[in-house]
C-alpha cells in the first residue's frame, strides 16, 4: 500500500487538506473581492479610467482561482485532475481571444 500511496504522492496532500476555518476565511476573501468589484463599478472616474477593466478582470481571475484551488481542492489534488481542468480551460481562453481578434472589438480596432 505504501507503494500505491507513494506512487500518487497524495498522503502529504491529505494532511494539508483545508479545515472549516480555512473555508470560512476563503469565503470572507471572496466576499471582500466582490464588494470591491461592485464598489468600483459605482465610481465614475474609476470606470472611465484605463485601469478599470484590467482591474475587474484580475479580481475576477483571483476569485476564480481561489474557488478552484480551495473549494474544488485542485491545489491539493492529483495532477491529472488539474490537467483535465486547466487543459480545456487554456484551450477555451485561447479560443475566446482568437474569436475576439477575428470578430470582436479588437478586430475592429485593428482594421481601423
Amino acid at each position: 500500500m505504501a507503494n500505491a500511496a507513494d506512487a500518487h504522492g497524495h498522503d502529504a496532500a491529505h494532511e494539508h487538506h483545508p479545515t472549516a476555518g480555512t473555508y470560512w476565511k476563503v469565503g470572507i476573501i471572496l466576499t471582500i473581492i466582490t464588494v470591491w468589484e461592485v464598489w468600483a463599478y459605482y465610481i465614475p472616474s474609476l470606470v472611465a479610467s484605463r485601469i478599470f477593466i484590467p482591474m475587474l478582470l484580475i479580481l475576477s481571475a483571483v476569485k476564480f482561482a481561489i474557488v478552484v484551488m480551495f473549494y474544488m481542492h485542485l491545489k491539493y489534488d492529483h495532477k491529472l485532475f488539474r490537467a483535465l481542468f486547466t487543459g480545456p480551460l487554456l484551450v477555451a481562453m485561447a479560443t475566446v481571444v482568437g474569436l475576439l481578434f477575428l470578430f470582436g472589438k479588437v478586430a475592429v480596432r485593428l482594421a481601423a
Binding site: 471572496l30 468600483a40 478552484v68 481542492h73
Partner: protein, 225 residues
C-alpha cells in the same frame, strides 16, 4: 476496507497496507484514481468549452445591437419616442452573486461535515439548496423584469446572447439544486458517512464549477460597461 480505503474527498486509494492494488478497487483506474472523479473533471473541462463559447458569443455581439434596450446605456426609440433605461440591475445581481458565493461556502462545509462526521452535513446541504434556489429566484425576477421593460430573447443581439448565456447557467444551477436534493434525501434516509464523501465531492465539484462560471459572467456581462 482493511487493505485500501477510498478517500472521502479525493477519490484515490490509500490505506493501512495490504495486497490490494488500486486497479483491484471496483471504481478505480490503474492510476489508483476513482473513474467517477476523473469523469466529473473531464465533464467540467468540457463545460468550460461550452460556457466559453457562450461568453465569446456575448462578447462578440456586445455593442452591436441595432435597437435597445441596452445593458448599460439609456435608449430612446426613434419611432415611438419611448425611453428605455439601462436594463441591467447591478444591486440585484450583486446580491445574487453574493448568494451563489455563499452557497459554495455552504457546499464545501457540507462536504467537510460528511468526511469529518460532524453531524451538520444535512444543515449545510439544506443551506446550499436554499441559497441555490435563492439565486434562481433572483434570476427569475431579473428575467421577468427585463421582459416587462421590453427586452426579450428576440429583441436584439444583446437580448439573444444574454438570455442564452445566463439561461444556460441557470439551467446548470437548477440541475445542481436537484442533485443536492438527492444527497439531502440520502442523508435524511440513512445518513451520509465518510465513505460517501466521494459522491458528495462529485456534486460539490459541479456546484463550485457553476459558481466560478458565474464569477466570470458577473464581471464580463454585468460590471464591464
Amino acid at each position: 476496507m482493511t487493505t485500501a480505503t477510498l478517500t472521502a474527498d479525493h477519490g484515490h486509494t490509500h490505506g493501512a497496507g495490504g495486497a490490494a492494488t488500486p486497479e483491484h478497487q471496483p471504481h478505480h483506474t490503474t492510476l489508483g484514481l476513482d473513474h467517477r472523479k476523473i469523469a466529473i473533471w473531464a465533464f467540467i473541462g468540457s463545460e468550460c468549452m461550452l460556457f466559453i463559447s457562450l461568453i465569446s458569443t456575448y462578447l462578440i455581439y456586445k455593442g452591436k445591437s441595432l435597437v435597445g434596450p441596452y445593458p448599460h446605456e439609456k435608449w430612446t426609440d426613434p419611432n415611438t419616442g419611448e425611453t428605455f433605461n439601462a436594463i441591467l440591475n447591478i444591486p440585484v445581481t450583486s446580491a445574487s452573486t453574493f448568494v451563489l458565493l455563499m452557497s459554495s461556502l455552504a457546499m464545501v462545509l457540507a462536504h467537510n461535515a460528511v468526511i469529518n462526521r460532524t453531524g451538520k452535513a444535512k444543515w449545510w446541504l439544506l443551506t446550499t439548496i436554499l441559497l441555490g434556489t435563492g439565486f434562481l429566484g433572483f434570476q427569475a425576477y431579473e428575467f421577468t423584469s427585463f421582459v416587462h421593460e421590453g427586452l426579450t430573447i428576440k429583441t436584439n443581439l444583446f437580448g439573444s446572447s444574454f438570455f442564452t448565456l445566463t439561461g444556460f447557467h441557470g439551467a446548470h444551477v437548477t440541475v445542481g439544486v436537484l442533485w443536492l436534493c438527492t444527497l439531502l434525501a440520502i442523508d435524511l434516509k440513512r445518513g451520509l458517512k465518510p465513505e460517501d464523501g466521494l459522491i458528495v465531492d462529485l456534486s460539490a465539484l459541479y456546484w463550485h464549477f457553476v459558481d466560478v462560471v458565474w464569477i466570470a459572467i458577473f464581471t464580463l456581462v454585468y460590471l464591464i460597461p
